[in-house]
């Protein structure tokens, strides 16, 4: 297993390099550059603009710019400094990453905690009212965009209670109550969307497992239905659910980007959107590579869990 993990980790390197080249080139294709955006909506002479571009290193050949950025990624500076804010990217990530990790973590936790029992419940009481309610609620989560739900939630809180979530982010260690008040809403909205997928997959998988011969054997041995469901049907039904968690991680990140903006969370999602708007190349490149890494690691973890759930797949196969 360790060799398998090491091999998968080694494969991350060419994947990340390929992703970084794509992001680097896409950013250069976009018109405009940060030296123009920084000055703002005012007249700037071409000479001054050129001098600023030179100072920022934007006039260097593309391969030199890419090489410098790549070197800064491996020498511990993690991309160097932001062209727009001058802040070190390592510091930016240090501030933004925990916020996004917490939001996605809460979302994953909530969606797993909700979707597994509800999926089993819907399968156990298939085509009866628990199933209908679960399917209707999950249909809402699948069809309503998180942006719209966020707006409705904020307006609903405002109109009903004259209340809105706190506007200053606080870490769970510094101020847990404020943290809860500000994080609970985006986490619930994202979890609704995420668990709507998971609950349907879980339901379908459990239904399929309940028809299998090993379940019939378990029942014929006189085991209680709860034991049959949890100990025999669920472990096999979990495989597609776990796969879905990995596949949907990208969707979760894109949802976090939107909700971080609306709820004022200073996370990586909001950071990367702003950096792309102002053409802050090193920040976009570094954050994009980080998100790719993030996604690859989640999928690696999913694969490891997958092989634990089903020994037929995994390192040996």
């Amino acid at each position: 297993m360790l060799r398998y993990i090491a091999w998968r980790l080694a494969l991350l390197i060419p994947t990340l390099l390929a992703a970084s080249v794509v992001v680097f080139l896409v950013m250069r294709v976009l018109p405009g550059d940060v030296s123009q955006v920084i000055a703002g909506d005012v007249a700037v002479s071409p000479a001054v603009r050129e001098a600023l571009a030179e100072e920022l290193g934007l006039n260097d050949p593309l391969h030199v710019q890419y090489g410098q950025w790549l070197w800064s990624m491996v020498n511990g500076k993690f991309g160097g400094n932001s062209l727009e804010s001058k802040e070190s990217i390592r510091s930016i990530i240090g501030q933004q990453l925990p916020v996004t990790l917490l939001l996605t973590g809460y979302t994953l936790l909530l969606s797993i905690l909700v979707s597994l029992p509800l999926g089993m419940l819907a399968a156990r009481w298939s085509n009866r009212w628990p199933d209908y309610i679960t399917r209707i609620v999950s249909l809402g989560g699948l069809s309503l965009p998180s942006l719209l739900v966020a707006v409705l939630v904020l307006l609903g809180l405002l109109l009903a209670f004259r209340w809105s979530p706190p506007i200053l982010y606080a870490s769970p260690w510094a101020d847990p109550w404020t943290h809860l008040q500000i994080m609970i809403w985006p986490a619930l909205i994202l979890a609704w969307e995420q668990s709507s997928h998971l609950v349907r997959v879980t339901r379908a998988s459990v239904l399929e497992a309940l028809d299998r011969s090993y379940v019939a054997t378990a029942r014929s041995k006189g085991l209680a239905e709860r034991v049959v469901l949890v100990k025999h049907a669920l472990p096999n039904a979990l495989i597609p659910t776990v796969t879905m968690i990995g596949l949907h991680f990208g969707v979760l990140i894109s949802g976090a980007v939107i909700l971080e903006n609306i709820f004022g969370l200073p996370g990586i999602g909001r950071g990367i959107v702003h950096a792309a708007q102002v053409r802050d190349y090193p920040v976009v490149q570094s954050l994009a590579v980080l998100l790719v890494l993030f996604s690859l690691v989640v999928n690696l973890v999913v694969d490891i869990v997958y092989s634990r759930l089903d020994p037929r797949v995994g390192p040996s196969s």
Partner: protein
């Protein structure tokens, strides 16, 4: 010699130059050194009222009874301040909304709080020009401290001007000059004389240098004692944030959490005082909460988490959003209104097409229903009439109030437009490109709808901000709106109306030498009346005879504040002005 120069300067008082013969703090007696020239506003400045074109008196904050001390003002800010808080690099309101408190409302001089079209002393107590206006000498205050307790000196001011004008070079590293270098004139030298005096010498006559220097974007945010050693060691790109945002303003930095908040707290050694001689500011501090999303700002304000809104396009209110504020908060909310600049259509006549014919451009100008722009393109806030400018404006407060160019009914003007277009040979219409900011496409859609009735197919090229900043200075489009805030003095408008080869960021792209000549005459005007006449000539030439630019309507920027926020100084225009909040106090228990 200096007295003679002062006498000459004061004799030319009809020029919009303020002069000070002695040390007179602006808080004590601004009129003594800044009496308005003929034709300017009197001591009662005015602000336009968006709804009905009326004007409302702006109160002089420094003449008020003392404000209550204490409290923290919570304001929204459009985004994180960019460019390391470097005022030499950016005009972004996201920086300057915060920078007024940190770095102060002005430079050596500032726009007067009671009338932004006059010049008041700030870090200089007085200033003096030679008879040819090529040499300006400022006397620096001796009671101004940086936030780390270091005394501000003329050497500090010289360091700042050196950064503005010259490329600092260390080895092969070069620091770019300030983006506004060109606006200040062609500086030949800057030198400290007699310890507290600073002399700037220009290659050409620069009679309005104090007016230009009073631009609130030109804040001094660069402590020499902290920056110079590091620049000499090769750190040429050093920014204010790299030295801890040590400024000269009424508030000093407490903390900056990127993406979250900039917190500033009262600087006890700040030098400005109110009319009673009490020190400013009144507030204990200000928290600027970073809120890029206007909807999030609205919800937070309406639920009581904010005392004031952010400044900046997108965050300024629409009529619909304002109605929501009023519905929830009633009398607990007040709205500041500022002239937000002109909504316009500008032509690139250097690109081949029917619009190279002045008759075609004039036809388009006459065809557009300018009144219809208010509810749509300007989202309900703005003014227009057959002319431009508030219809009931009592006095010409500044130069940007245009005269009545297009009087007459819409039917008459449209008939004339059709005649002109037919005469030019384009009665069947034509296709016209329009560079449009994706950030706010509504005005572009308004123009598209308007011109379609004239047979003109306006093709919108929607671009994001990065592409907009590149394209608007290029020749790769047919028409654009421009969105720059021109200087409130006419001489400062050449950068947006002048020839393309000299002014690549001009709204209309042309190479008309007559415009050069008109601006040259303007710069050489000796009396206020001459200036006004020449400015009118320039406007008539640009907007009517050649129609390089079509002024459509004047927008109004509206920002909300809770009614307990007192002592606000809202500028007549340009939201970058008066962002120090040193006169603000909170009237709540």
């Amino acid at each position: 010699m200096r007295l003679a120069a002062l006498a000459i300067l004061c004799a030319l008082g009809s020029l919009a130059i303020s002069c000070a013969a002695d040390i007179v703090p602006p808080a004590d007696n601004p009129q003594s050194f800044a009496s308005p020239p003929p034709g300017f506003a009197s001591a009662t400045p005015v602000a336009p009222n968006a709804a009905n074109g009326e004007v409302a008196a702006v109160e002089d904050p420094l003449q008020h009874e003392s404000g209550k001390r204490g409290g923290t003002l919570v304001l929204a800010n459009r985004s994180d301040p960019p460019a390391g808080f470097d005022t030499l690099r950016t005009s972004s309101i996201a920086l300057h909304h915060v920078a007024g408190a940190l770095f102060g409302p002005g430079n050596l001089v500032m726009r007067c709080r009671e009338n932004m079209y006059l010049v008041c002393p700030y870090l200089a107590t007085s200033w003096l020009a030679n008879p040819g206006f090529t040499e300006w000498t400022f006397t620096i205050r001796d009671d101004v401290y940086w936030h780390d307790g270091t005394l501000f000196s003329a050497e500090d001011a010289k360091f700042w001007f050196d950064l503005v004008f010259y490329e600092a070079t260390v080895g092969d590293k070069v620091r770019a000059p300030a983006y506004f270098k060109g606006e200040l004139g062609d500086l030949e030298s800057v030198e400290v004389i007699e310890h507290s005096r600073l002399r700037l010498t220009f290659a050409e006559r620069n009679p309005f240098f104090p007016d230009i220097l009073a631009n609130p974007r030109f804040k001094i945010a660069h402590p020499r004692h902290l920056m110079q050693p590091r620049i000499e060691q090769g750190e040429v790109s050093i920014s204010p944030i790299d030295v801890g945002l040590v400024g000269l303003g009424p508030f000093k930095l407490e903390k900056y959490d990127r993406g979250s908040v900039v917190s500033v707290r009262r600087f006890d050694q700040y030098w400005e005082k109110n009319a009673d001689g009490e020190s400013l500011p009144y507030l204990d501090g200000i928290d600027y909460v970073v809120m890029p999303d206007p909807f999030a700002m609205d919800v937070a304000f309406r639920s009581g988490r904010l005392d004031g809104g952010a400044r900046g396009q997108g965050h300024y209110l629409t009529t619909q959003r304002k109605a929501g504020y009023l519905r929830d908060l009633g009398e607990d909310v007040v709205f500041s209104e500022m002239d937000g600049g002109n909504f316009r259509l500008a032509f690139n006549v250097l690109r081949p097409g029917p619009w190279q014919d002045p008759k075609v451009r004039r036809a388009i100008a006459l065809w557009i229903d300018k009144r219809a722009a208010l509810p749509t393109a300007l989202r309900g806030f703005g003014w227009t009439s057959p002319d431009l400018g508030p219809p009931t404006l009592p006095v010409p407060t500044h130069f940007i109030n245009w005269p009545k160019f297009d009087a007459g009914t819409l039917e008459e003007k449209r008939a004339e437009a059709e005649r002109l277009l037919k005469e030019a040979g384009y009665a069947e219409g034509f296709s016209l490109g329009h560079l449009c900011r994706a950030l706010n496409p509504v005005p572009c859609e308004f123009l598209e709808a308007q011109l379609s009735d004239l047979g003109i197919d306006l093709q919108l090229q929607l671009v994001d901000e990065g592409a907009w900043n590149r394209a608007r200075t290029s020749l790769d489009y047919d028409t654009q709106q421009g969105r720059l805030t021109p200087s409130p003095i006419p001489e400062g408008t050449e950068s947006v109306y002048g020839r393309y080869s000299e002014n690549p960021d001009a709204y209309g792209k042309h190479e008309d030498p007559h415009v050069d000549e008109l601006y040259r005459l303007l710069r050489n005007a000796l009396t206020f009346e001459q200036r006004v006449k020449l400015w009118r000539d320039i406007e008539t030439y640009l907007f009517v005879e050649q129609t390089y630019v079509i002024p459509i309507a004047e927008s109004v920027n509206v920002a909300p504040y809770r009614s307990y926020v007192k002592g606000l100084v809202i500028p007549t225009e340009d939201g970058h002005t008066n962002t120090d909040f040193s006169t603000v106090w909170l009237d709540k228990t």
